[in-house]
């Protein structure tokens, strides 16, 4: 939910509690299990929440890529009736399923066209954050010492402030271009990822295979990348999906507050809401509510995917 949360500290604390369930199976004989990865992937694709999330997400991706398929009106087109006049603020009707907004543009079209703004910045920002966070987390968790202490202080400083605030300040300072947005969000999410990765790396570094690697004289870089990293990669996958959700959240909030990418006439969910939410009180709910529902559906979909990935890969 919140932009600030340090992804599931509950996992750290809960794992220490002993699980009193009786063991389900004794030693697994060598022949019984085949390719576990393939099995996991198959299980993932069968999980209902994953399917729902994937379908919805893919729908929005399709909207971002080829919006023309879904609607005949362009984002800046005006809905006109038979004699050519535009019809502002019309409630939902046959040729404008979601109605029209204050100046007569088709809300449905704007919802469809508005998908790309959110969907381009969020995954890229999330990806950068995950990669940067992984590097930081590995270094901090493996080497410990004063590098860890200093970096922890810095991370804590960044984490103590709400993301939206710092994002606003950055955008005001550097301008609201796509690049600024991506880099800002990536920078703001890196500490959270780094912290999660760090605690995973701490746990791994205590295991004996790391000691064994040191006893072979392996250099630190090898141990971090080839020994430890493969064991935390599933955490990174989950973090990525979760961060995409929060990135969408942040981008939408920023555009709602007036910091959106692109020209004023471009369809953008957050900005459209901010332009039209005051109409709600007058009874014209559709120009604001439909984009709101669009945001909600996309983030829910991403979170369903994140949750199902988490469930399948941590069992």
């Amino acid at each position: 939910m919140s932009i600030n949360e340090p992804h599931d500290p509950a996992v750290e604390i809960v794992d220490m509690a002993a699980v009193a369930r009786a063991p389900l199976e004794p030693a697994i004989p060598a022949t019984d299990r085949k390719s576990i990865k393939r099995e996991l992937r198959r299980e993932l694709f069968r999980t209902p929440s994953f399917i729902v999330g994937a379908v919805i997400s893919l729908f929005w991706v399709a909207c971002a890529v080829a919006p023309g398929i879904f609607t005949k009106w362009g984002e800046s087109d005006f809905v006109r009736n038979s004699d050519g006049a535009s019809i502002p603020r019309a409630s939902p009707r046959a040729d404008a399923w979601f109605g029209t907004d204050t100046i007569g543009q088709d809300v449905f079209a704007r919802v469809i066209y508005g998908a790309d703004n959110v969907l381009i910045t969020s995954p890229i920002a999330a990806l950068i954050a995950v990669l940067a966070g992984a590097v930081l987390g590995l270094v901090m968790g493996y080497f410990r010492g004063w590098a860890d202490e200093i970096l922890s202080r810095v991370l804590e400083a960044v984490l103590s402030l709400p993301v939206v605030l710092l994002a606003i300040m950055a955008v005001v300072t550097f301008g609201s271009t796509r690049l600024v947005l991506i880099l800002t969000i990536a920078t703001l999410f890196t500490p959270v990822v780094a912290r999660t990765v760090r605690s995973a790396v701490l746990a791994e570094a205590q295991l004996d295979y790391v000691t064994s690697a040191k006893l072979r004289g392996e250099p630190a870089l090898f141990i971090m990348l080839r020994e430890i990293f493969p064991n935390i990669s599933n955490i990174l996958v989950v973090e990525f999906t979760v961060r995409v959700g929060y990135a969408i959240f942040t981008v939408a909030t920023l555009s709602f507050l007036g910091f959106s990418v692109g020209s004023a006439s471009d369809a953008d969910w957050g900005r459209d809401i901010s332009d039209t939410y005051s109409l709600i009180q007058a009874g014209q709910w559709w120009p604001a509510i439909f984009p709101a529902l669009a945001i909600a559906s996309l983030v829910i979909a991403i979170n369903l995917i994140a949750d199902s990935v988490d469930k399948v890969y941590s069992s």
Partner: protein, 319 residues
């Protein structure tokens, strides 16, 4: 214990210093010139220069930073740029109080409901009830605060008319009226947080239910409700406390969207306006307030956890 608090506070000061540095750097990189904004679009060049000098904005950066540190230490943040003559503290105080009111009401709603939901879900793990709670929580937590704010405003404020759609309570409003006016944004916060808190509580409760000490309690012949009350709760709620502590920063200073939708004068909106003005003294002071609240709440959370779990006290320097 006292040693721990002292050590934590000392470390917090370092972090606060870093935050100050970050905020300061960001503001000084602004391309805009506050003096020009203040002076107005028709002011002459000399007027702007004069103002710049008055505000001390042409001094070397380290001097300006030093001045900021002094202001922080003496708690005198001077006057606002955007509202000349108005002391920064006088602007922050009402916003802080408003945010506090909202936070308190929200916590009173969120915590009992979410904790109860989480424990129920854990008890009936993998049943329909559990899956519904988790799915619902997942869905509602995904929605940005301003989105659920807008939806609630529409449904309950306008269509049904049960609650005022905008949070502008009259100044002399009593407690109940005051609550009515901020109930909608509090409900939006409930939506956002229910899923998160319920899931963390659920995870903690599952861990406690499956722990050996719970088995021991059952083996002593204790009834289920007693086991939950006396053994499970104390252990299950620790992650919840930790997480609630870390969210305070967001609850005080991050609800900008919600404050805009409901026209509520809270700390988040204040920071937003200060950032866009730009109003450096106000911005610095407001951001600092949020950071201090975060520090204090995480410290409080850690202390509560230490009270709940004696073993955590080991890390705190108790021998």
């Amino acid at each position: 214990m006292l040693r721990y608090i002292a050590r934590r506070l000392a470390l917090s000061l370092i972090t606060l210093f870093l935050i100050l540095l970050i905020v300061f750097s960001l503001t000084r990189v602004f391309p805009s010139e506050p003096a020009r904004q203040l002076a107005g679009p028709f002011a002459s060049e000399e007027r702007v220069e004069q103002l710049t000098e008055n505000l001390g904005l042409d001094d070397p950066l380290p001097t300006q930073f030093g001045r900021l540190v002094r202001d922080v230490v003496t708690l005198d943040f001077g006057e606002s740029f955007s509202q000349p003559g108005v002391r920064v503290l006088d602007l922050i105080r009402p916003a802080l109080w408003n945010s506090a009111k909202l936070v308190i009401l929200s916590l009173l709603l969120v915590l009992p409901i979410s904790i109860f939901g989480g424990i129920m879900a854990a008890r009936k793990k993998d049943t329909l009830l559990d899956r519904s709670i988790v799915s619902f929580g997942l869905a509602s937590a995904s929605i940005p605060d301003f989105v659920s704010g807008v939806l609630l405003q529409f449904l309950i404020g306008v269509k049904l008319g049960w609650l005022p759609a905008v949070s502008n309570a009259p100044d002399d409003a009593g407690l109940l009226t005051g609550i009515k006016f901020i109930l909608l944004p509090a409900l939006a916060i409930l939506f956002v947080y229910f899923g998160y808190i319920a899931r963390i509580t659920r995870a903690g409760a599952i861990g406690a239910f499956e722990a050996d000490y719970t088995r021991t309690a059952y083996m002593k012949g204790m009834s289920s409700s007693k086991v939950i009350r006396k053994h499970v709760l104390r252990n299950a709620l620790q992650p919840t406390v930790a997480v609630t502590g870390t969210q305070m920063g967001y609850l005080f200073g991050g609800l900008i969207g919600l404050e805009v939708v409901f026209n509520y004068n809270g700390l988040g909106g204040l920071i937003f306006r200060a950032a866009t003005a730009p109003d450096f003294p106000l911005l610095q002071a407001a951001v600092l307030s949020v950071a201090i609240i975060f520090m204090l709440s995480t410290l409080a959370a850690d202390l509560i956890i230490a009270w709940m779990n004696p073993r955590a006290r080991l890390d705190l320097g108790d021998d």
